[in-house]
Symmetry: C2
Subunit: 160 residues, 2 copies
């Protein structure tokens, strides 16, 4: 516990418990999915990285261009993705999938680069983002309810 905490430990635990109780299906094992496979080669070509992340080579270059990841080059000047780069890309992909804009991710990563002094701000950003994800989850649950309603009602006379 240190000065970088925006919430006291009990508050933070409570916040986490709060959403846990709202989300029983969040499997703790999910965290395993955040790790890269152990047998990942040390260096990957852009094509390999693309296949692994399900992004296109275009998109990988784009992410590098806008500063979301830095990638080394091999003797031939070709991009060479190491574990760190891959981990970064996976992280970015998660945030993108949860609707965080490139700009916001960029901002977050700049804070990371500026060192530990920025941790409070990073924490705040993440908490705000978590709240936004929860809003999205609720929206989706509503949408799912609508969808199911449309589905169950067929054979009936629902309009539209």
């Amino acid at each position: 516990m240190n000065a970088t905490d925006l919430l006291t430990a009990p508050d933070r635990r409570q916040a986490i418990l709060d959403h846990r109780s709202e989300l029983p299906p969040v499997d703790p094992d999910l965290l395993h999915l955040l790790e890269l496979p152990d047998d990942l080669p040390e260096q990957l070509s852009i094509a390999e990285a693309a296949e692994l992340t399900a992004l296109t080579a275009h998109t990988l270059r784009y992410y590098e261009r806008v500063g979301l990841v830095s990638v080394g080059r091999d003797a031939a000047g070709h991009r060479s993705y190491d574990r760190q780069a891959m981990a970064r890309i996976v992280f970015v992909t998660r945030l993108r999938a949860s609707g965080m804009s490139i700009g916001a991710i960029s901002h977050y990563l700049q804070l990371v680069q500026q060192g530990p002094d920025t941790e409070p701000e990073r924490l705040a950003l993440m908490q705000e983002h978590r709240a936004s994800i929860q809003r999205q989850l609720r929206e989706l649950q509503l949408a799912l309810a609508v969808t199911d309603y449309k589905i169950t009602v067929y054979g009936g006379t629902a309009a539209p």
Copy 2:
């Protein structure tokens, strides 16, 4: 039960139960939110409709332009939103919030307009959409796990 069903009743019920068991927090009361308030005026101006739906007047005109909703006019030629129009807009908004594209919504609504013969296709569309929502939910839960990991790890040495 009729020929328009793509799944037999038991299959359909099972499909619904399946996702229900994955989503305990889906409150059945949510469906109430799909209904319009009883005290909704019969006719609303575009400004009132915008406020009610949290869309802008611009967006409402846009939705009409691309055929997502049809809206009558009053004596002065101004748009006049009735309950049906409002219900349609709410429905469209839910689908948008769950990531369905304007084009896909448009397609669905065209099917509706073509009459009951298209119900099987509509059902299929909705089921596909439900699957996509569930994928999104899982993505979001993952993202939430990442986010929480980032949050709980502060004070520690996590990178990035």
